[in-house]
């Protein structure tokens, strides 16, 4: 299977299915009471934009397997609502200051309102999945709901792993620990679930859905590592989060885990002391020092190489999954994703 060229179909389809999803999202984000403390902030994150990768992957997979865009639409809308619910709660848990170039929801409205808004977004996502009945019928709707339940469970288990590492100030982590955490926390809801649900809707059958775990994991992990690299080295105006925010938060990225492994004993002790402090007590000089040590020990380069390797493997798995399907824009979109995740800036 030839590799996708840089002029791939990804941006076009992200725009097309993203717009389709945004329009359908309005059904769930319309003006309702109480407006000020609930539905206005509920609509805030979804209206800040975003790449729409998850809903587009869901619709494209469904279409590649023969479904109409409408059949995948409610599941795509639900994904976007769940994604925003996770973001609101993650920002509280990570004490983040910025999201998509603006202050986080809890920074604007306080933690209590933000947590409630996150709950509301998750429930609206559930509503969108129930609305699948109209296009998918009761049996398939129930199967999609079961998939959503598993996705949510895997994601919160992954989040628990990462929060636990931070709470216990874990500093002896391996690459395997990192991969397991990302599989659960990121990959399930970013790539595995959209692919599985798309295939479920497109084929009407839940046979062989485990095949999508391998592809989604390899693609999703490459995506996450690239995302974490952008946090350190990307353009903050395009990336939308505070530069070096992951270091400030003590997030166990592949770069940080590599630094903990490669640093000298003295460096490791200073790093462990920094990670053991509450965020508000961390100093900018330490953040700059960690960033510089990452460069010195080649942690960013190492992570880039791992991301490249995983994207290559995702491309290989993609061939096995989709090669038998007729050529289509949707299939070409999926095949081009491993290249696209690395080319993001």
């Amino acid at each position: 299977m030839p590799l996708a060229t840089p002029a791939d179909p990804v941006p076009g389809l992200l725009r097309e299915y993203g717009n389709l999803t945004r329009v359908a999202l309005c059904d769930y984000l319309g003006p309702r009471a109480p407006q000020r403390h609930l539905y206005a902030p509920v609509a805030d994150y979804p209206r800040r934009g975003g790449r729409m990768l998850r809903p587009t992957l869901c619709i494209a997979t469904a279409r590649a397997f023969g479904a109409s865009p409408e059949e995948g639409l409610r599941s795509a809308v639900a994904l976007e609502l769940f994604h925003n619910a996770f973001l609101v709660h993650d920002d509280v848990e990570d004490e983040s200051d910025e999201r998509r170039g603006r202050p986080t929801l809890h920074a604007l409205h306080g933690v209590a309102v933000a947590v409630n808004v996150g709950d509301a977004l998750a429930l609206l996502g559930l509503r969108a999945l129930i609305d699948n009945r109209r296009s998918l019928g009761p049996r398939l709707t129930m199967r999609v709901l079961e998939e959503a339940e598993r996705m949510a469970r895997e994601s919160i288990e992954g989040q628990a792993l990462e929060l636990g590492w931070r709470r216990d100030n874990a500093v002896a982590l391996s690459d395997a620990d990192y991969l397991e955490m990302v599989l659960k926390k990121t990959c399930w809801y970013t790539t595995i679930y959209p692919s599985r649900v798309g295939a479920l809707i497109g084929t009407g059958s839940d046979r062989d859905l485990d095949r999508f775990i391998r592809f989604g994991f390899l693609l999703g992990t490459a995506f996450q590592i690239q995302d974490d690299l952008l946090n350190l080295a990307g353009d903050p105006r395009r990336y939308g989060k505070e530069r070096d925010g992951d270091i400030w938060e003590g997030k166990r990225t592949l770069m940080l885990i590599t630094l903990l492994r490669r640093a000298s004993a003295d460096e490791r002790a200073r790093l462990a002391a920094f990670l053991g402090e509450p965020r508000r007590e961390r100093r900018e000089t330490d953040v700059r020092w960690i960033r510089e040590r990452m460069e010195v020990h080649g942690c960013l380069e190492y992570a880039r190489e791992v991301a490249h390797g995983l994207a290559g493997a995702a491309h290989h798995e993609c061939g096995a999954l989709y090669a038998g399907l007729p050529d289509s824009r949707d299939r070409r979109f999926i095949e081009a994703l491993p290249t696209w995740v690395l080319a993001r800036t």
Binding site: P138, A176, F217, L218, V306, H308, G309, L310, G312, A313
Partner: protein, 236 residues
Amino acid sequence: MSTRNRVTRPEPERTHPIRSWSTLFGAAEGDAGRTDVVSRSVDLAYRVVDEYIRQGQKAAQRLSERSYAPEAMARDVQELTTRMGQYASDFMALWFELVGMAATGAAGRQAPARDDAVRPAADRPSPRRDDAVPDALAVPAGVRIEVASTRPVEVQLDLRPEAAGARLLIHALRAVDPDKPRLTDVVLEAASANEPARLRIGVRDDQPGGVYTGLLIDERTSRPVGTLSVRIVAAA
């Protein structure tokens, strides 16, 4: 015949094809360190995800082989009840349609689209006044489906409009494979003044997995007015 020596390529140093993930994205050849990182990380990633999938398959196998101790049986019965409730609610809307047609003498009309038939009444457009069900026909609605099975079972009941108000019969269900025994424990009880119609299906533990189908017959005309399909998951 030319006496010139043929121009040939030198023998490559490699002894086998180069299959490296890193070269897919144009990594510099000969960068041994880089290739090593990529190979090791891909290998590790496959080990992590394969172990994860293996754990999931083991869990699924455990579930399909679960023992029938009292506690496990109680859980199964609970699941069964939930499923039955789901089936009953799915068919409730269909039954409303049928009763409505019988009331207006429209039994010969084309059946509603399948998707509409299973859509709960609250989601459908309000019926026109002349389609509304008169109060006098407010008989107990719905088909109560009761399944006794130790394995997951999917039930699909399709009724034609002519089935409304008819006294129905059903015989044993057959599989496509003639060697499989019939599913005999299928009973359809007509609705009474206080109870909705009841379909009871019992699946023996030794019944082979597969799809079993049968016709619902109008007792008066002996004509088929619907089908019943039962899919039984094969025993692990």
